[in-house]
């Protein structure tokens, strides 16, 4: 099968087949390296219950039109993107009827809560509130082998 993406194919050649996804960035931080704290996820849990749970469900399973925020479908959807992509999507569009109504810290806390529920490990440093910093952390659905954490 052929794809009209010569540049991206070239990029693969450089990146090599690191990890299980040849397209994942193999430099920089990953969600598998403990990028948020347990306390942050706790705070995020409270914010989620107040501002997100009504649509996305108390157990993050989704209701009606609002998708699940847990499980393979959700993580696959963001595979190879960055935490910054997810952060800005949430920050600029959620809650759907009042976007940007949480503080940046609260959005970061909610993200930590989502990461925890999707099985990504906790760490010692809280998730940053700056999109440009979060954009350096890659979401990879599969746990890389041999990278620790």
């Amino acid at each position: 099968m052929k794809f009209a993406l010569p540049l991206l194919f070239a990029a693969v050649g450089l990146a090599g087949a690191a990890g299980t996804s040849v397209w994942a960035q193999d430099a920089g931080k990953s969600v598998w390296q403990g990028i948020y704290t347990g306390e942050q996820a706790e705070r995020g849990s409270a914010v989620y219950a107040q501002r997100c749970g009504a649509c996305h469900g108390a157990a993050l399973n989704g209701t009606g039109e609002a998708p699940a925020l847990i499980g393979g479908e959700f993580v696959s959807h963001w595979d190879t993107m960055t935490v910054g992509d997810l952060y800005d999507r949430v920050r600029t569009t959620m809650p759907q009827n009042d976007p940007q109504s949480l503080t940046r810290e609260e959005y970061a806390d909610v993200l930590a809560f989502l990461l925890k529920n999707n099985g990504f490990p906790t760490g010692t440093q809280p998730l940053d509130k700056r999109s440009e910093v979060l954009a350096t952390i890659t979401i990879t659905a599969e746990k890389p082998t041999g990278t620790g954490g």
Binding site: A4, A66, N97
Partner: protein, 692 residues
């Protein structure tokens, strides 16, 4: 109400500057049929034509070159509203080289140069509270075109339920139509909606325009947790395309004395709502009939406030195009309690059955049945048998003892979830699936909902978003074969609980034992450009188990399919899993240990198909990252005859509506509406490489 309009240049003048392909408009009232003249081919209604075909005879893009398609232009819809949209569902129209579409959280209308994607004009109504309160916000499914050979109009319904007529050349409202180009659809509705801002009604679909008649349906809030059973009724109306004057109204919930009123026992027709037509209306211009695919009555899973069969809920109704008078109807589900709204545009097909030419109407459905009727008489082409179905035990519910089940064609999508449907890649997965489902009820189609308890949370089903949803089907008018996407794994669990005080006047709404019962939102509800601040949500507790086993879908593949249904013979000619296997399945350790599995398709309800001279074309709705391509989705082409995939092209985002095709300057384009994940709404136009 404020109007935003950008009028850089008239469409004709703009086209003269950028392309030499401006063709002549034919002198025929109504929409124009697809044709190819001077290198121009049009797509003039949401479904390509009023028969619902989504078919174009173009063949410049074919099996031999599909994979060579490249992006010709992209049009991002972010600026058409106060915030970006992530649910772009509109199918654009193409008329003589100009693209017309709705887009953005404001549901603005734009005209674009079909060869370049350049903005020619933009129009939007700023409706304030009225759009904020709408049950159907966001960009909608599209708009309609009309001409009498001189006048050319674009017609659409705003988020706040106003019908607007615009000059196709300038984007300016037509001063001869309604009040300065606008009709308030909340008025003249044979019912009092009270406050016009908050009165509950809206619609996503594009108006159906035939001759001088515009037909408009209605849609309402999500029916999982309605505030009241006595909400707005979804009457269907027709308006004069020149003046906006109301021509007729069809009462989808009959008034006293009208046919069908007595199918609502205890005068329940007086105090129940919904029963609208939210999908596209199809029209047979020769027979002079409009085909209305009517949705369910309030509420989706509990009908105790509406005993009886509830005509014309869940019926296919043929009405006279000129008068709105009912010619025939067929109720597909009696006393519906499964959220199996009629979702798809009726497909008006000319086929040959048992050696005889037949004019039929086919209707795909959420429940995986493809119903086929003589479209003049309403008689089933193949027997539809009233079949005994299980009676439930929900207190206060009224159950129909039978439901109509078509004998032909065969079921084309999963419509029940039973043990045989559960994941069985390994014995261990099957065992875990059985353990999980021991907390739920399994059953075939029309297994009734239950009261949610800690022992049995609900009925596992593929109802609300399963089978074929709003994108509907498509067909090839030359062969009489319908091509229909269906979701086989859009499963959920449905149980009922009493609502807390103040939430609803219905005794039972959707809920899960152990969880607070909360209001569930509908498509785009509270998400439009004018939406207000959120109310605090109740606290979260521990939920029921996810419907997944070791992170894999609970049900077997295929998760999504395209079926070719031969409506001449009532058989399924071929069926393919549509869509790459999702990453989380393909990369799962168990699947890897098995050495992989055949393509599973993808679970989604947002896929519509496009049919051309030789191909069936549809994109994917989920992002994947595979050894063959980076994160993205594929637009796929299948051979119409065999279902064999003959080409695929990369999309940077996912298909979220139905693709269409047209030609301008001798070049064929395919537009895909895309959105999802971090990618906001964008129309992506594909064409073959080269100047021409």
């Amino acid at each position: 109400m404020k109007i935003t309009a950008i009028l850089p240049l008239s469409v004709t003048a703009a086209l003269m500057l950028t392309t030499a392909a401006a063709a002549q408009t034919p002198a025929r009232e109504g929409t124009m049929a697809a044709r190819t003249t001077n290198g121009v081919a049009n797509w003039t209604t949401y479904n390509a034509d009023l028969k619902g075909s989504r078919y174009s005879p173009l063949d410049q893009v074919n099996a031999g070159n599909f994979s060579n398609l490249e992006i010709a232009w992209r049009f991002k819809t972010d600026i058409l509203g106060s915030r970006p949209e992530y649910k772009l569902e509109s199918t654009p129209l193409a008329v003589d080289g100009v693209i017309y579409t709705t887009g953005g959280t404001r549901r603005a209308v734009v005209a674009l140069n079909g060869a370049t994607g350049e903005l020619l004009w933009q129009f939007a109504l700023h409706e304030g509270k009225r759009s904020a309160e709408s049950p159907r916000a966001l960009s909608g499914r599209g708009l309609s075109y009309w001409t009498d050979g001189t006048k050319r109009r674009i017609l659409y319904v705003t988020i706040g339920y106003r019908l607007v007529s615009l000059d196709a050349d300038t984007g300016r409202p037509d001063p001869e139509f309604g009040e300065n180009g606008v009709i308030d659809l909340k008025k003249d509705f044979d019912q009092d909606l009270g406050d016009l801002d908050t009165g509950e009604v809206g619609v996503h679909s594009a108006p159906a325009v035939s001759g001088n008649t515009i037909i408009i349906g209605a849609a309402f809030r999500e029916g999982f947790t309605p505030r009241t059973h006595n909400n707005t009724k979804g009457y269907v109306r027709a308006f004069d395309v020149r003046t906006g004057k109301r021509m007729w109204t069809f009462h989808t919930v009959p008034k006293p004395g009208e046919f069908g009123y007595d199918t609502w026992l205890n005068k329940a027709a007086d105090v129940n709502g919904n029963t609208g037509v939210w999908t596209q209306v199809s029209v047979d211009e020769e027979l002079g009939l409009a085909y209305l695919a009517v949705e369910s009555a309030t509420s989706d899973f509990f009908g105790g406030k509406r005993p009886g069969n509830n005509l014309f809920a869940n019926s296919l109704v043929a009405v006279d195009l000129k008068t709105g008078e009912r010619k025939w109807h067929y109720q597909l589900i009696h006393h519906e309690i499964w959220d199996l709204d009629n979702s798809s545009a009726p497909l008006l097909m000319d086929v040959t059955v048992d050696g005889k030419p037949r004019k039929v109407v086919g209707l795909p459905s959420k429940q995986g049945f493809f119903y086929v009727f003589d479209r003049a008489t309403g008689m089933p082409v193949w027997p539809i048998k009233e079949t005994k179905v299980p009676k439930g035990n929900v207190p206060g519910e009224w159950y129909s003892p039978t439901q109509p089940i078509p004998s032909k064609p065969p079921v084309y999508a999963r419509n029940g979830v039973e043990e045989k449907d559960l994941i069985d890649f390994t014995p261990d997965l099957k065992k875990k699936a059985l353990e999980l489902t021991s907390k739920y009820v399994l059953g075939p189609v029309y297994t009734p909902p239950i009261i949610s308890t800690p022992e049995k949370f609900g009925v596992i089903n593929n109802w609300a978003q399963g089978g074929t949803n709003w994108p509907g089907g498509s067909f090839d008018p030359e062969t009489g074969i319908a091509y229909v996407y269906a979701c086989g794994a859009c499963i959920s669990s449905t149980g009922l609980l009493p609502p807390p005080a103040g939430l609803s006047d219905i005794p039972l709404v959707v809920g899960v034992a152990g969880q607070p019962v909360v209001m569930i939102k509908g498509p785009g509800e509270g998400a439009g450009a004018d939406s207000p601040a959120a109310a605090p949500a109740p606290g979260a507790g521990s939920g029921p188990p996810r419907l997944a086993v070791d992170g894999l879908p609970l049900v077997k593949p295929p998760y999504g399919t395209i079926s070719a249904i031969d409506v001449n013979s009532g058989t399924i000619k071929w069926q393919v899993a549509h869509g790459e296997t999702p990453d989380f399945v393909r990369n799962h350790p168990t699947i890897k240990a098995m050495g992989g599995i055949p393509r599973t398709g993808q679970a989604t309800y947002q896929i519509g198909t496009l049919v051309t001279k030789s191909l069936v074309i549809a994109g994917e709705n989920q992002f994947t990252t595979t050894p063959d391509h980076p994160r993205g989705a594929m637009l796929r082409a299948y051979d119409k005859q065999s279902g064999k995939e003959v080409g695929a092209v990369f999309m940077p985002s996912t298909q979220s509506g139905s693709p269409m095709t047209y030609m301008v300057g001798g070049k064929q384009y395919i537009i895909v509406p895309t959105s999802g994940g971090n990618a906001s709404g964008e129309f992506i136009a594909y064409a073959l490489p080269g100047k021409k």
